[in-house]
Point group: C2
Chain length 340, copies 2
Amino acid sequence: MAKRAVSIYDIAKLAGVSTATVSNVLNQKGNYSEKTRELVERIAREQGYVANFAAKSLRESSTKTVAILTPDVSNDFFSTLVLAVEGRLREAGYSSYICNTANDPERESSYIYGLLSKQVDGIVYIGGTTQSRIEANVDIPVVHIDHTGTTGVAREVFVGNDLPRLSYDMTATLFERGCKRVALASVSASLYRTAEHDQAAGYYAYLEEHNIVLDKNLVLEGPHKETSLIEAEHLVSSCLEDGYSFDGVVALGDRVALGVVNALKAHGIAVGKDVLVIGMDDSIYSRISTPTISTVRRHTAQMAEEAMRALLEMLGGAKPSETHIVVDHEVIERETTLGF
Amino acid sequence: MAKRAVSIYDIAKLAGVSTATVSNVLNQKGNYSEKTRELVERIAREQGYVANFAAKSLRESSTKTVAILTPDVSNDFFSTLVLAVEGRLREAGYSSYICNTANDPERESSYIYGLLSKQVDGIVYIGGTTQSRIEANVDIPVVHIDHTGTTGVAREVFVGNDLPRLSYDMTATLFERGCKRVALASVSASLYRTAEHDQAAGYYAYLEEHNIVLDKNLVLEGPHKETSLIEAEHLVSSCLEDGYSFDGVVALGDRVALGVVNALKAHGIAVGKDVLVIGMDDSIYSRISTPTISTVRRHTAQMAEEAMRALLEMLGGAKPSETHIVVDHEVIERETTLGF
DNA sequence: TTGAAAGCGATACCAC
DNA sequence: GTGGTATCGCTTTCAA
C-alpha cells in the first residue's frame, strides 16, 4: 500500500485518549464510558480506520484464517465442497485461503510452506491425494475431505465416503438391473488420482464375490492427458471399435459418465436400454445429460458439516473426538439405468 | 497455533549469530560469509523454521497477497478466470485470497473490510457487479474483469469484452442465418447481474438498427429464484405454452442456452433447425449439450493476462497505462445455428 | 562481515 | 475508566 493507512495511534491522538482505550472500544472489551465510545467510534469511522491485521496476528499469534487446498476449483464436485466449507468457516469467523494445487506435489509444498509462514490456523484438504508431509515444527490441525494421504501432523481428521463400498454399490446396481458384462471407466478418478485404488476396489470386490470373471479389456483407464470427459469418450470408442462388448458401465465420476454416454450415443447405442451407465458425484453433469445419468450422491453438505465441526473443535484447542468420519452415500437412479 | 513456532531468535541463538545475519542469509541479501550461510541454513532447516509472515508484513507493510472477489467459483466461466488470474499471480510471487461474494453486497463489504484489514496489496473483481465503494483511507489498486461497478479508488482498471457489441453480434448471427423472430433469454446474466444492461443492449440495438419491432413477449427475464439453467427452461416452456412463437434465441450465457435447448427439445422442437440458439461464454455447457450450442468465445485467457499485466504494473507503484481494456470476442458456430 | 537496536501496529497487563 | 508500556517476529540502518 502506497499511502500509509491510519493507525490506532492516529485515532488515539485525534480522540485524545490512549491506544489502549481505542483498542478496548473497537474490540468491545469494556472499560470505557459511553462518551468515550462514541467519540472513538466516530473518529475511527471518519478516518476510515481499519485495524492492521498483520499486527493483530503477530500479537495474538492467530490469524483466524484457514487454508483450503484442492486440486481444481473448476471441478463441480470440489467447488461445491469448497463453497460449503468456506461458508461454514466464515460463519465461525474464519477467512479462507483457497489454493489450487492441480495435484502437483511441488505446487502443493510451495503452498504449504507459504501457508505455514502465513500462520494459517488450520488446513483443509479437499479431494485428490497427497504425499507431501508437513515437516515444519508446528502443530496445526488438518482435515481431509475426500482426500487420501496423511500429512503427519498430530491432529488430523479424515472425512469421506466408504469408497470401496460406494463402487461396490454402483456395480451391484448395474448387475441387479440385469447387466451381464460391466465395464469400469476410471479416468477422472485418475486425473485427480483421488483414491484411485479405493474407488475401483468395490468393482473388483463385487465381481469376485459373485464369481464373475474379470475381463481386463473392460477396465478402461486413461493416459490422463485430456479432461476426463474427452478421455472417457476416446476410451469407450476404441473399446467398442476393438470389438469388445459390454452392457453396463461403472463410471468413476459424472464427467466420465457423460463422456461414456456421449461415446455410446455416437455409436448408435441406446443408453439406458442397450447399455446401462452409472456415474458418481451427483454433479450437474449427470443432471444435464440426455438421457439423465444415474449416479451416486455423496452428501457433500454433510461432509463439509462434519469436517468443519471437527476442525473448529481442533481450532478450539481440543483433540478430535473422531479421526475417521464416514459419510453415507446413496444411489440415485435416473434414465441411464432404466433397464432392458 | 498451539506450539510456539521457532523464531528467528532461536535460529540466531543456535547459530551463534545475530538475527540480522539470519535474516540476511535467509533472504539472500548478501553480507555474510559462505560459512555463516551454511551454518544458518542448516540450523533453519533442522529446526523447521518458517518465517512469521505477520511479522514480515507488519514490518514491510506489504503482504504480497491479492484478493480475488467473484460471485461464485462453481461457475465455469468465473472459475476459469479465477484459475488463470491466480496462476499468473503466483508466478509473480503473490498469493491470492479467493472470496465468494454470491453478489451479496453485505457479504462483499464484509470481505472488503476484512481484506483491507489483512492488508492485501491489490483487489481483483471477477464477474458480477458491485455497488460497494472502498471508503477506507487506503490507496489500493483494483482491477475489474468482466465486472461492472467502480470502487472509487484512485487506481483502477477495467478489463472485459465490449458487451453491447457482443450481444449485437449474437443477434446478428441469428438474423443472418435467416431467423425472423428472435427471443432474448437473459436469466443468468441477471442471476449474477453481470452488466445485465450492457449485455442486453446489443440485442435492442440490432433490432432498432434493422427496423425490427421489439416484441416484449420475447424478452425472457427470470425471477432469479432458480439456477439459470432451470429458470431458462421454465421461461421458455411458459413462453411456448402461452403461444408465442419465435425461431431464434439469444441466450446470455451458456447455462441459459442449455436450459433453452432442453426446453425446446422437451417440446419436440428441432434445435438448430426449427429454432436456432446461441449462447455465450464458450463454457463446457455449450460443448456437452446435444446438439452442441453455438456460442461466443470471450478470450478469458487474454482477459486474465491483460488484467494481471495492469495489476502488476500498479503493484509496482505505477499508474496504469490504460484504464479500460477491451478484449475481443468471437462467435463460434456449432450445431444450434446450423440453419433452416 | 557482523551485531545492536529501533520500529512496524495492535493488545493486554498493571498501575493509577 | 483510563493510560503507559512491554511484547509479538522480523527487517533494516548504522556502527563496529
